[in-house]
Amino acid sequence: MKNQNVRMNPVSLFALALLIPLLLMLNGCASSDVSNTPSEGTEETEETANTERTLPPANERFSSLAQIEQNPAVKRRPLDIQHWQTTHGARVYFMAAPELPMLDLRIVFDGGSARDGNQAGVAMLTSSLIGEGTQQLNSRQIAQGFEGLGAEFGSSSYRDMAILSLRSLTDSNLLEPALALFLEVTSQPTFPAEAVTRTKNQALASLQYQKQQTGKLANLAFFSKLYGTHPYASPSQGTEQSIRDITRNDLQHFFERYYVASNAVISLVGDLDRAQAEIIAERASRSLAAGERAPALPDVSAPKTAINQHIDHNSQQTQIIVGGLGIARGDDDYVALYVGNEILGGGGFGSRLMEEIREKRGLSYGVYSYFSPMHSRGPFLVSLKTRADQSEQALQVVNDTLSKFLSEGPSEQELITAKQNILGSFPLSTASNRSIVGQLGSIGFYDLPLDHLDRFLTRVEQVDRQQIREAFQRYIDNDKLITITVGQPLVPETVPETVPVVSNDN
């Protein structure tokens, strides 16, 4: 499940904080999203040797490939996942990883922006303010505490999840104080007035920055159209008005309601034995109020008609998003849709969309599609950027590609390759402690079985073309897609609905 968390970026203020450092760190590194897939019917070229050449099968040209085909089994890191509940009702997932003297600890709460209610941005602000103060410590003392121990503290917020994390060495002279500090910081935040004001100001700056980002604007519009009155429609980063209106009390209440043991999943991966893990989980759970689990989110209904919206923006490229309503976590169709989407646009390398948009036509640097299964049904979407004057052509290609895939499904060869890819790359997704602690958090958060990853692989092996085609047809209706474009103004008759400008707040 290499793409399990793909593009589910946390909502945070630190977009802004990172803006410049990232530019600098990249040092102008211009990586390329390489894509592949053969051009069908290689076209004539004057000077290359490969015009209309016919090469023997790849496994005859490359002996190492033939060897792999003879011995296709792949090993992976064994995952001995253990699960229990603390006395306060927190669900715990643990894997011992004695190879490195370090611990990754995560507490995942059902307290993402889906719980914003009518206060858009409250989940994100609450998350950002954890670490800004306790009864005993101010923000600088907290930071110095973690830094002096060589520990890393994190707090982030998504649509479904709010995550607190600690990475520390397991040398007890370091782990013990790091853990004590982590538990103090995460269980007794005081939301100091000065920090609340400052963080709200950063959130407002972040909203200004958002106005420069066509991708972000398109995403907001897409979620708003797709989800209507469902909580997922709420902009995770808030609006200028909602951010200004949120008070310190609101943050305190949000914290008290959602950052509680019954609403928590604790995952641990590191150089601990079961007994040590139990003690740590118990301490973490006891430091929180017992509280109650958050109620289930309401159901979502799929759009009844096609929706098109264009947002004017003075950018050279137009951002295009096309999509609809996907599936919830735990859905039986997940594997069929996941494998199918790898072929359509998820795999990046060699997907149909990449082939049609980038390889054949050079229309974009990259195009991708994904399903994002969440507590409620998450979105399915296709996304790309292209030069403004090519946007209609690109949109047409996306729609044609999608329509063809919906009616025909994948070819047998595409399915074989996709399965080989998913099964072959699986060991990569469980190689590091960091990735495993994330997988454990998801398994717990969505109440998936402990052997979820094995079941996933087994189902990938079994899924067939017809199941994929039927699953796509069940969820994606070609006549009821939502299409959002953000870019230079279009000729009016080409779009049914035109919404003016970005400059007012959303």
Partner: protein, 459 residues
């Protein structure tokens, strides 16, 4: 390469720390597990055994990047990187990636100012496939006119996405071009738009002939492998390739104290003002005084080594003059580089770029007058020490570190000395480099301000 727009705070801390701890991770018994070989044709192979998970990362680095290019031909290295996924004598266009996908390899490539790299992460016993296909495109690439014309359009889209439509990205590009006077670091890796337009397929073929030869390549392998077996595989696939003579590479030394420069941009698509301040400084590969780049790295840590460091504590919190601010200094480039301080003024509090710049100068002047405290340095050292172990959680970042050093002519063994050299830096040495290098004579200031649209957008 996917770009993450938003990252959690922990990631931000890490990103900042990277500039500091870039080459620190392997001191831990690395000698015992890391092996270096040179094949008779000059190809260098470095293998580190890491048996935690049954996977391997394989990277091929070429010592060529945008700093090897000249005016009028910028962007060649990067476009060539794209073309490396097209036809070879024995591979069809796109087939490289298709084969890699079919064995579950995660792969990509990157171009920097100093190097071009290609990598795959895959099941450990599949490493020979990486070698066989990399060897094929190392000497058998076929660059066709038709594929080039289409691919350069993709690169122009990439440029629009990364630079033209990103006001801060565009400003940063202009800032770099102003800050570097006598060095090709003034050119963007992706190339200037007009150079992309005038680039020809012949230019690319010459570039490939000139630089893609085994004696200009470093192969880095980290993972669940046996070094002797990897050596045998490398000999089998890369061994037969013939090397060619390489052009002499000249040192990249900037003018000493070039003089103060400023550049200001007002852009309609900007909604936030930004400030970049860059000082011309030496790096490890160029410094005449060995400890100075290490002192500059510690200086960067004092200012911005974490959420408790001076910029976060005093400018973002405290005075609240900046919405965000940070320091960038990479000591691991082959030529003289920049010490960069940048930020976004806190406009909600009514602060502007001039006030932010003044506040940054105040921080610099304080350090020139009084050395930092031992306690501050201890916090930085503790973070570096633990990052040695954290970095081992990722085989890719270990390989990246080895390749980054080797590709600029430094030894991967330098990483083992890194912590020691940073630990040896005294507060007074940090004060000295602040005095010597953070001066007006070495400064370039670039500012970005939002420009109100004077008319409705034309339709």
């Amino acid at each position: 390469m996917r770009i993450s727009w938003l990252l959690p705070r922990a990631a931000s801390l890490l990103a900042l720390l990277l500039s500091l701890s870039f080459a620190t991770s392997s001191s831990f018994a690395a000698e015992n597990t890391t092996h270096e070989f040179v094949l008779p044709n000059g190809l260098k192979l470095i293998v580190r055994e890491d048996h935690r998970a049954p996977i391997v990362v394989s990277q091929v680095w070429y010592r060529v990047g945008s700093s090897y290019e000249s005016f009028g031909t910028t962007g060649l290295s990067h476009v060539l990187e794209h073309m490396m996924f097209k036809d070879t004598k024995r591979l069809e266009t796109g087939e490289f990636s298709r084969i890699m996908a079919s064995v579950g390899a995660s792969e990509n490539a990157f171009t920097t100012r100093d190097a071009t790299g290609y990598f795959q992460v895959l099941a450990a016993n599949r490493l020979p496939l990486s070698f066989e296909l990399e060897a094929e495109r190392m000497h058998n690439l076929v660059i066709s006119e038709e594929e080039f014309k289409r691919e350069v359009q993709v690169v122009m889209e990439e440029r629009r996405q990364r630079v033209s439509d990103k006001p801060q990205g565009l400003t940063y590009e202009r800032f770099q071009s102003t800050a570097h006077q006598a060095s090709p670091y003034s050119n963007p890796v992706i190339g200037w738009q007009q150079d992309l337009e005038s680039m020809t397929v012949e230019d690319l073929r010459h570039w490939y002939q000139k630089w893609y030869t085994p004696n200009n390549a470093i192969v880095v392998v980290v993972g669940d492998v046996n070094a002797d077996e990897v050596l045998a595989q490398a000999k089998q696939y890369f061994g037969p390739l013939e090397s060619r003579e390489l052009p002499t590479v000249k040192p990249l030394i900037e003018i000493n104290e070039p003089g103060e420069r400023t550049i200001s941009l007002a852009l309609e698509n900007a909604h936030l003002p930004s400030l970049f301040m860059g000082f011309n400084v030496p790096v490890i590969a160029t410094s005449e005084i060995e400890w100075e780049p290490y002192a500059l790295r510690m200086l960067s840590g004092v200012l911005d080594g974490g959420y408790s460091a001076r910029i976060e504590s005093e400018l973002v919190r405290g005075q609240e003059i900046a919405s965000s601010a940070g320091v960038g200094y990479s000591a691991f480039t082959r030529g003289d580089s920049l010490f960069i301080i940048s930020g976004i003024p806190n406009t909600e509090k009514g602060h502007d770029i001039a006030e932010l710049e003044a506040a940054i100068w105040q921080q610099i002047d304080t350090l020139k007058q009084t050395p930092p405290s031992v306690e501050e340095l201890d916090l930085i050292k503790a973070q570096i020490t633990s990052s040695l172990i954290y970095q081992k959680d990722s085989i890719s970042s270990q390989a990246q570190q080895i390749g980054s050093l080797e590709s600029i002519g430094l030894s991967w063994r330098l990483a083992d000395l890194d912590l020691e050299r940073l630990n040896a830096i005294t507060p007074e040495q940090i004060q000295q480099v602040a005095k010597k290098y953070l001066t007006r004579e070495r400064l370039t200031v670039a500012t970005l301000t939002p420009k109100p649209a004077d008319t409705q957008p034309e339709s």
